[in-house]
């Protein structure tokens, strides 16, 4: 019997995986700093002892979309958005450096600057900790200046420098925790700060998922899937016809 049934099945299965990837994009349409994942299928010829006549579909996530998301004004001094290219450096669950575009920062009870996912922001001299302050200002180059409690506005002083990096995007890869790291980087490796990266205070960067695009993609995968199922039933009919010819009258 021909393997058309199996090939159609593999196509349908890969379509559901693509559907999951797009559904994840759409679910994160309002997640701060979220980067959309691309989703594509590739034909994989089956090599073996024989001539490779068959090709199976294989779904993959080649990369994430690094286009900037929309900037949303919040008026909150600690909310930061990166203008154009660049990344914030944060500590991941293992205490290593990882990168994110998520800039909805707040001060926790110990004065540490953490983002909405509770990841600690790294500065020029390690994780950033702010003393009690009355007013905080973050400049475009990532300098944090504070007016300490009980101090005159005149003594506002720069105390910290947020580490902003800009590694080669082709080397950046999204990890299981949604943070980005450099492909093939050693654990504990750090990237140098890039002084040209600019931030905007009082803004957060939204998700770069285009709802229209994702929804269209989902519809298209839906139709492809239907075609694969149709192929399966056609293969089934063929098999039945063959069987009926072979039947002894």
């Amino acid at each position: 019997m021909d393997r058309a049934l199996y090939i159609a099945m593999s196509g349908a299965k890969q379509n559901t995986l693509g559907q999951t990837a797009e559904a994840n994009n759409l679910a994160n349409v309002s997640t701060t700093g979220f980067r959309r994942d691309f989703e594509q299928a590739r034909s994989m010829p089956v090599f073996g002892d024989y001539y490779p006549t068959r090709a199976y579909a294989m779904e993959e996530r080649p990369a994430s979309d690094f286009n900037p998301g929309p900037l949303v004004e919040t008026g909150n001094d600690l909310d930061l958005a990166i203008d154009n290219q660049g990344w914030f450096a944060v500590l991941d669950a293992n205490g290593n450096e990882a990168y994110t575009r998520r800039g909805d920062f707040q001060v926790d009870g110990l004065g540490r600057l953490v983002n909405g996912q509770n990841q600690q922001l790294i500065g020029a001299g390690g994780p950033i900790v702010l003393p009690p302050y009355e007013k905080v200002q973050i400049a475009a180059d990532g300098t944090v200046s504070i007016q300490g409690v009980g101090e005159e506005p005149a003594v506002i002083a720069g105390i910290e420098q947020i580490k902003l990096v800009n590694p080669d995007l082709t080397q950046m890869e999204k990890g299981e925790d949604g943070l980005f790291r450099l492909r093939d980087a050693e654990p504990g490796a750090i990237q140098p700060a890039d002084p040209t990266v600019q931030v905007a205070s009082g803004y957060v960067e939204g998700s770069n998922v285009s709802a229209v695009h994702s929804l269209t993609q989902i519809m298209s995968l839906h139709r492809q899937y239907e075609m694969q199922v149709k192929m399966m039933s056609t293969a089934d009919e063929n098999a039945q016809t063959t069987a009926s010819i072979m039947e002894i009258q």
């Binding site: 759409l26 994989m44 993959e60 909150n76 009870g109 110990l110 199922v229 399966m232």
Partner: protein
């Protein structure tokens, strides 16, 4: 089953929580001293279905893998402690803090709660109490026969009594501040409680050392901006609709499979 179904379910769930936050903000648009919440979304973990760099044959590698995200969740709500606009009421017991700081309220169980709502009243014994009747901490009792009561910008309460023209100082209203007011726990009734995330309260004198000044005859409005909330509501609704579209698409795919094979 179809994993897109579950992923889009997380999207629906998160948007639903987002809408709850927005509707609570809108419901409290005229609550004195109310601080709005912002729903914080985060993406769930990714599952590696196929490892990038794995061998695809004896001497070739997969150039990219397949890592599927598992959806979104609401990581929490973040209180936005920006100051609301001050509104003049001319009531002597209406107080607002212009700047950082909270009033302290003694709860009936002995705990101290913190509030920005300065709508104070007097009870039958002359104590200054909040709208729920809980005492201001430290307790201030206004004596009988009080003619006028003045609260200075640094919190000193002084009264003049009938037949006496010299004002008498009867107490001091302290303000407290936290290193991270966002970490306070909202318990309703415009009250907040200290948590491990907020840090310990720092008691101080109003209009000194960075604390806000106390303004008598003013109230702080809610910091909810109606237009902003409406726009957020539209965004949430559309995101919800699109996620539900994915649910129905995934459902139809399964249905189609069941009917046509």
């Amino acid at each position: 089953m179809h994993s897109a179904l579950w992923v889009s379910k997380t999207g629906l769930n998160a948007q639903d929580h987002g809408l709850t936050t927005i509707s609570n903000n809108l419901a409290n648009v005229s609550t004195t001293g109310f601080k709005k919440d912002r729903a914080v979304f985060e993406d769930l973990i990714y599952q590696i279905q196929r490892q990038p760099g794995a061998l695809s044959s004896q001497d070739s590698r997969l150039p990219s893998g397949l890592q599927l995200g598992t959806g979104v969740k609401v990581a929490g709500t973040q209180k936005i402690h920006t100051t609301g606009s001050l509104e003049e009421t001319s009531q002597p017991l209406d107080l607002a803090i212009n700047g950082r700081g909270f009033f302290q309220i003694a709860l009936p169980d002995g705990q101290i709660a913190y509030t920005r709502d300065g709508t104070f009243h007097m009870d039958a014994e002359g104590n200054i109490v909040n709208s729920q009747g809980y005492l201001l901490e430290p307790n201030i009792t206004i004596p009988d026969q009080t003619n006028t009561m003045t609260i200075s910008r640094d919190g000193i309460v002084s009264v003049t009594q009938f037949g006496d023209t010299t004002p008498q100082e009867i107490g001091q209203i302290d303000v407290v501040d936290f290193i991270n007011p966002t970490g306070l726990q909202a318990v309703g009734g415009n009250l907040f409680l200290e948590t491990a995330a907020s840090g310990a309260p720092e008691i101080g004198v109003a209009s000194e050392d960075g604390f806000g000044s106390i303004e008598q005859g003013f109230l702080e409005n809610s910091n909810v901006k109606v237009v902003e909330e409406m726009v957020k509501m539209i965004t949430v609704q559309r995101a919800y609709e699109m996620n539900s579209k994915v649910v129905s698409s995934a459902d139809q795919m399964l249905q189609y499979l069941a009917q046509n094979t």
